[in-house]
Symmetry: C2
Subunit: 116 residues, 2 copies
């Protein structure tokens, strides 16, 4: 596959008020579920948290890849997180750096934040 499938458009509408405020439409549920799915695997969640908490807001793959699975598997999971719109990647010389996409993260947090 060539083009990075844009499962979640990072520049899309904020989408979702708190889940306690109104029921989700079918389309919104589909989009949000895709993001939750990206974090539904322990290995992926750890990779995500390592990028998010890394100094400077970005991390090279080599900094975070020690999570107990093979290197191809790490690469596979990072791709999933990219496709979900939760991470962005940039190649700088030999290394590839990942950072968190703030928009989708805020959308998920907003959805889960109780109004009361």
């Amino acid at each position: 596959m060539s083009a990075e499938l844009p499962i979640v458009d990072a520049s899309a509408a904020p989408c979702c008020p708190p889940v306690t405020a109104a029921a989700l439409s079918e389309a919104d549920a589909e989009r949000m579920a895709a993001m939750f799915k990206a974090l539904s695997d322990p290995v992926r969640l750890r990779l995500f948290s390592r990028v998010a908490s890394h100094a400077g807001g970005e991390a090279c793959v080599c900094d975070i890849q020690d999570v107990g699975v093979s290197q191809p598997t790490v690469s596979h999971h990072l791709k999933k997180l990219r496709e979900a719109g939760l991470l962005t990647s940039e190649r700088r010389g030999t290394w590839v750096y990942y950072r968190v996409a703030p928009g989708p993260l805020a959308a998920m947090a907003g959805l889960l934040t109780a109004t009361r």
Copy 2:
């Protein structure tokens, strides 16, 4: 699997500071991933949002079951949400009422809330 597997203990430690603050341990990642997994299906996410946004903070299955899948499938998804600790259920006469468990919801929101 017979007994209700307590994938996530509702009364467990708050578990997680924002994901931008520190990397998750393997155990915490496992627990949090289980919650995200529960919301990673569009049908489940819609059921959850319908319960969360329903008047009175609770909903009868009959109020929310029109999501385009069969009744057994709805029941199956509600069970998954229960097992993940995100919903609680109570039988009152003929009907079963579901409501959101505030603790786990807050844990997820807290994890995703950016510190900056």
